[in-house]
C-alpha cells in the first residue's frame, strides 16, 4: 500500500478506537459520582431539584449526586431501557400514573425497612397521596407534591359584568351551568366573543367521578373495567358534551382548533373564556401574564348527587431495586421529599407540597393570587386515581378516547358510546401481572 493509504487507514483505525473508548466512558458514571437521580421538568422546576441536591451534597460530603433530566414524553421508556441495560439511576422521580408502570414491572425497592429503621414519620403526608404510592402495605415512593385537577380559575371581571356572584367552593353542576349560560357573550353577527368555560385539555374525568362514575371495580387490584356500564359515565360524559353542543357554553373541538392554535390557557389569559379548569400549576403563568382582570379559583362543582371527586396529579421519589447504593439513595429521598424539599417547592409556588404542615403554612399560602388557594388543601380529600393496571394507558387512549372523540364531535351520544365501549372493554381486561 502506498503512504497515503497506510496513513489514512491508521487514522481511521485510531478514530474508531478513540470513539469506542469515548462511548464506553460516556456509559460509565462520572468520576466520583455515586448516586444518580432522574427527573423531568422545565427549567424552573429543575432548578428546585438542582438547589436541593447542592444543599444535600454540602450536608453529606461523601455522596455525590448526578441529575439526569429526561423529557416527560420519553420518561418511562428511557427508564425501562436503562433498567434493561443495567445503567438505571438509583432514585427516580415518578408521578401518579408512570409510578404504576414502573411498580407493576417490579422496579421499585420497598421502602418500609428504611422507614422503620429511621423512624421516618409519614404522618405529615396527605394520606390520600401517600396511599397512591403504597401497595400491599408497603410504601414504594415518598410523595413530593399533589395536584388535584379541580381548580376552576374564573375571571372576576366577566362575573361582575354578568352580575353574578363569584363561585363558592360549594357549588354544583346546576349552578355551574346557570352561571355559564349567563357568561356567554356574542357579537352582532352571532359569533361567540366570550365563552363560559374551557378545560386545559379534554378533561372528562372530573365529570365522570363527580357523577359517581368509576373506571374499574378496584383501583389497586382491578379485575374488570366497569366504566362503560356505570351510569356515572353516561351522566358525566353527556353533561360535558351538552356543555358544548346543547348549552353551547364551551367551544366544541372544531371551534377550538379554529381559535388560531392558541393554547387553552391563552384563551383564559386573554379573556376569551371566563372559566378555566386545570390544576394549580397554571398559577405562576397566570400571575405573570394576566394584567387586565382579577381572577381567583373555586373547586370543581359537586355532581348532581352531591358527590365531589376529581382526578389528580402528584409525584414522588422512589428507589430502584437495581440500585447499588440504596442507603445513600434513601438519605437523598429523605431530604428532597422531606421538609426541606417541601418548603422549597412551596416557596416557588409551583406545586402543592404533599406535606400537610407545609401546605398549610405561609410558605405555600403566601397571600398572593389566587386568594382562595387554601381550597386545594381541602380538595386533596376528594381525589381519585386511575386503576393500577399495565394497560390503563392503552385502554384510556386507545379504546375509550377514540370513541369519546365522536361524542365531543357531536356524532354520538354518551349512551351510544357506552354501548360501543362495552364489548371492546370486555376484550381488554385489566392486566396486572
Amino acid at each position: 500500500m502506498n503512504r497515503f493509504k497506510r496513513g489514512g487507514l491508521f487514522l481511521v483505525g485510531l478514530l474508531l478506537i478513540v470513539g469506542a473508548f469515548g462511548l464506553y466512558a460516556c456509559g460509565k458514571r462520572g468520576e466520583g459520582a455515586n448516586l444518580k437521580i432522574s427527573s423531568w421538568g422545565d427549567l424552573q422546576e429543575n432548578q428546585i431539584l438542582v438547589d436541593l441536591i447542592a444543599e444535600f451534597e454540602k450536608a453529606n460530603p461523601t455522596i455525590k449526586v448526578d441529575l439526569q433530566r429526561i423529557p416527560f414524553g420519553e420518561y418511562t421508556t428511557k427508564l425501562l431501557t436503562q433498567i434493561a441495560a443495567g445503567s438505571a439511576p438509583d432514585v427516580i422521580f415518578v408521578e401518579t400514573n408512570n409510578f404504576v408502570d414502573m411498580y407493576l414491572r417490579d422496579a421499585f425497592e420497598p421502602l418500609n425497612p428504611y422507614i422503620q429503621a429511621d423512624n421516618f414519620s409519614l404522618a405529615d403526608y396527605y394520606p390520600q397521596v401517600l396511599d397512591r404510592f403504597t401497595a400491599n402495605n408497603n410504601v414504594y415512593a415518598i410523595p413530593r407534591d399533589t395536584a388535584p385537577i379541580c381548580v376552576i380559575y374564573y375571571n372576576k371581571k366577566a362575573f361582575d359584568a354578568a352580575k353574578l356572584p363569584y363561585p363558592s367552593d360549594d357549588w354544583d353542576w346546576a349552578q355551574f351551568l346557570a352561571d355559564g349560560q349567563k357568561l356567554v357573550k356574542k357579537d352582532a353577527t352571532g359569533k361567540v366573543t366570550q365563552w363560559a368555560f374551557i378545560d386545559d385539555w379534554t378533561m372528562w374525568e372530573p365529570w365522570l367521578y363527580s357523577a359517581g362514575g368509576k373506571w374499574a371495580d378496584d383501583v389497586k387490584k382491578p379485575t374488570k373495567w366497569v366504566v362503560a356500564e356505570d351510569p356515572g359515565f353516561v351522566a358525566g360524559v353527556q353533561f360535558r358534551a351538552d356543555l358544548m353542543h346543547k348549552y353551547k357554553v364551551m367551544p366544541a373541538p372544531s371551534s377550538l382548533s379554529s381559535m388560531g392554535g392558541m393554547g387553552t390557557s391563552d384563551l383564559f389569559e386573554n379573556g376569551t373564556v371566563a372559566m378555566f379548569l386545570s390544576g394549580l400549576w397554571k398559577t405562576p403563568s397566570f400571575r405573570d401574564h394576566i394584567k387586565n382582570f382579577n381572577w381567583d379559583i373555586a373547586m370543581f362543582p359537586k355532581g348532581p348527587t352531591g358527590v365531589r371527586a376529581f382526578g389528580t396529579g402528584g409525584s414522588g421519589y422512589g428507589i430502584l431495586k437495581s440500585s447499588q447504593h440504596k442507603q445513600d439513595a434513601w438519605k437523598l429521598i429523605k431530604y428532597i421529599a422531606g421538609i426541606a424539599g417541601a418548603k422549597k417547592l412551596a416557596q416557588t409556588g409551583l406545586a402543592q407540597p404533599a406535606m400537610i404542615s407545609v401546605s398549610d403554612s405561609p410558605d405555600f399560602l403566601d397571600g398572593k393570587d389566587p386568594k382562595n388557594k387554601k381550597m386545594v388543601l381541602e380538595a386533596v380529600k376528594y381525589v381519585k386515581y386511575q386503576p393500577m393496571a399495565k394497560n390503563t394507558s392503552e385502554v384510556f387512549y386507545g379504546v375509550i378516547n377514540p370513541v369519546l372523540d365522536k361524542v365531543w364531535n357531536g356524532t354520538l351520544t354518551a349512551a351510544q358510546a357506552a354501548e360501543i365501549l362495552k364489548p371492546e372493554l370486555a376484550t381488554k381486561p385489566p392486566i396486572t401481572q
Partner: protein, 384 residues
C-alpha cells in the same frame, strides 16, 4: 473472472475497506435489529419483564375475530333499560350489564363474542361491519379493531396520494421542461418545499393552513366557491376530512418527483418526437406515444418508491395529531400504531408483529407492481 494480480488485490482490499463502515452499520445497526424484530414478533416483551415465547398469539390477536349473529331485533320507543332479551324463538338471553337506551332506536341483539350477548344500535354502526350487519344479519368483532383501522387509513392515504401526486409531478415536470427564459427559477420554486422537509415547523404551518375558521385553505375555498367559511370542511378537526387534509399536505412535495421526471423527460431522444411529427402525430398523440413510454421507467421507479414510503408515513401525522392518530383514530396510520404499541404501551412483541405484517404488505405490493410491469418501456431493450 480476471486473475487476481497484486494490483487487483490491492484495489479489492481498499474497496472493501471503503465499504466496511457501511457494511458494519448495515449488519449491526440494521440487520441485528431487523432479525430481533422478526423473532420478537413471536414473543411478548415489555422491556424489563421476561421475554415470553407466544408463538402465533400476536398474529391471532391481529387477524382474529369473533362472529356475531343477529338473533333478534328490538324497536324501542323511548327511554328503556334492558337487562335481558326474549327472542322470537322464546330463548332468554341475559345481558352482561343493563343497557340504557334513551331515544327510539332499532337494536340488533347479537349472539357471540366474548360477552355472549351484545346489543348494537343500528343507528351507530357504520362502515363495512355495519353493512354486513344490515345486509346479512351478522357482523364481526375483530380482536384488534385498531389494526384494521390503521391498515385502512394507511391504504386510503397511499392509494389516493400516490397516483394523484404522480400525475401532478408529471404535469409540473412537463411544464418545467419548456425552454423558456427563467424556467430555472420556477423549477427552484417548485422544489423548495422538499428542501424545507417535513419537520415540526412544517406541521405547525399546515395546522394553521387547515384551520377551519381562520386558515388559508378555507378562506380561498370560500372565495372561489362561495361557500361560507363556517360550512367549509373542518379538516384536521373532523373525522371525515382529516385524511384528505393529510393527502393535500403531501402534494406540496410535487417538486421532488418533478426533478426526477424532468431528468427522465430530458432523456427522451428528440429524434423520437421528430419521427412522430413526421408521421403526423398531434401534441396529445406525441405525449401518449412518445413521452409516456419514454418516461415509463422513471414512472415505474417513482411508483414503487412512493408506495413504499407512503405506507410508512409517520412524521407529519405524529406532529399534527400529537401522536394520537387524529380525531377518533381517523389518522391512525400503521407506523403510528406500531409506535404507540411499542413506546406508549410497551408491547414490543405485538409491535414487532405489526411491523412484520406491514413489511409483508409492502413486499406484496412491490411484487405485484413488478409482475405487472409490461407497460414499462426500456430504451434499447431487444423486443423478445
Amino acid at each position: 473472472m480476471a486473475t487476481l494480480t497484486p494490483l487487483r488485490r490491492k484495489e479489492a482490499i481498499s474497496a472493501y475497506l471503503f465499504i466496511a463502515p457501511f457494511l458494519l452499520w448495515l449488519i449491526f445497526l440494521m440487520g441485528g435489529p431487523i432479525l430481533a424484530a422478526f423473532f420478537l414478533s413471536f414473543c411478548e416483551w415489555d422491556l424489563i419483564g421476561q421475554l415470553h415465547y407466544v408463538g402465533f398469539h400476536n398474529f391471532n390477536e391481529m387477524f382474529g375475530f369473533a362472529k356475531l349473529t343477529s338473533v333478534h331485533q328490538i324497536i324501542t320507543q323511548g327511554p328503556v333499560t334492558l337487562t335481558s332479551i326474549t327472542t322470537n324463538a322464546g330463548a332468554v338471553l341475559t345481558l352482561p350489564s343493563p343497557s340504557v337506551f334513551q331515544e327510539p332506536a332499532t337494536l340488533a341483539v347479537l349472539q357471540g363474542g366474548p360477552s355472549g350477548v351484545m346489543i348494537q344500535n343500528l343507528a351507530t354502526v357504520h362502515g363495512f361491519l355495519g353493512f354486513l350487519l344490515k345486509t346479512f344479519g351478522f357482523t364481526l368483532l375483530p380482536n384488534d379493531p385498531r389494526f384494521w383501522s390503521a391498515m385502512y387509513n394507511t391504504a386510503y392515504i397511499t392509494f389516493l396520494s400516490v397516483p394523484i401526486g404522480m400525475v401532478l409531478s408529471v404535469v409540473v415536470a412537463l411544464l418545467m421542461n419548456q425552454k423558456l427564459k427563467g424556467i430555472e427559477a420556477y423549477r427552484a420554486i417548485y422544489y423548495l418545499p422538499s428542501v424545507l422537509g417535513s419537520g415540526v415547523a412544517m406541521a405547525v404551518l399546515w395546522k394553521w393552513i387547515f384551520n377551519a375558521d381562520s386558515g388559508l385553505l378555507n378562506y380561498f375555498l370560500s372565495m372561489i366557491t362561495g361557500i361560507p367559511i363556517s360550512e367549509c370542511p373542518k379538516w384536521l378537526a373532523s373525522e371525515a376530512w382529516a385524511k384528505p387534509a393529510l393527502i393535500i399536505m403531501g402534494f406540496w412535495n410535487v417538486g421532488s418527483g418533478m426533478i426526477i421526471y424532468l431528468a427522465g423527460l430530458q432523456g427522451i431522444p428528440q429524434t423520437h418526437y421528430e419521427a412522430a411529427e413526421i408521421d403526423g402525430a398531434n401534441l396529445w398523440q406525441q405525449f401518449w406515444n412518445v413521452t409516456l413510454p419514454g418516461l415509463s421507467p422513471v414512472i415505474f421507479f417513482n411508483l414503487i418508491i412512493s408506495i413504499v414510503f407512503s405506507f410508512q408515513i409517520f412524521n407529519q401525522v405524529y406532529v399534527i395529531t400529537d401522536g394520537l392518530g387524529g380525531p377518533a383514530d381517523s389518522t391512525l396510520v400503521m407506523v403510528l400504531y406500531i409506535y404507540q404499541k411499542a413506546f406508549k404501551y410497551y408491547q414490543y412483541g405485538y409491535a414487532s408483529a405489526l411491523s412484520l405484517v406491514l413489511f409483508a404488505v409492502i413486499m406484496v405490493a412491490t411484487w405485484v407492481q413488478f409482475k405487472y410491469s409490461k407497460w414499462v418501456h426500456y430504451e434499447g431493450e431487444l423486443k423478445k
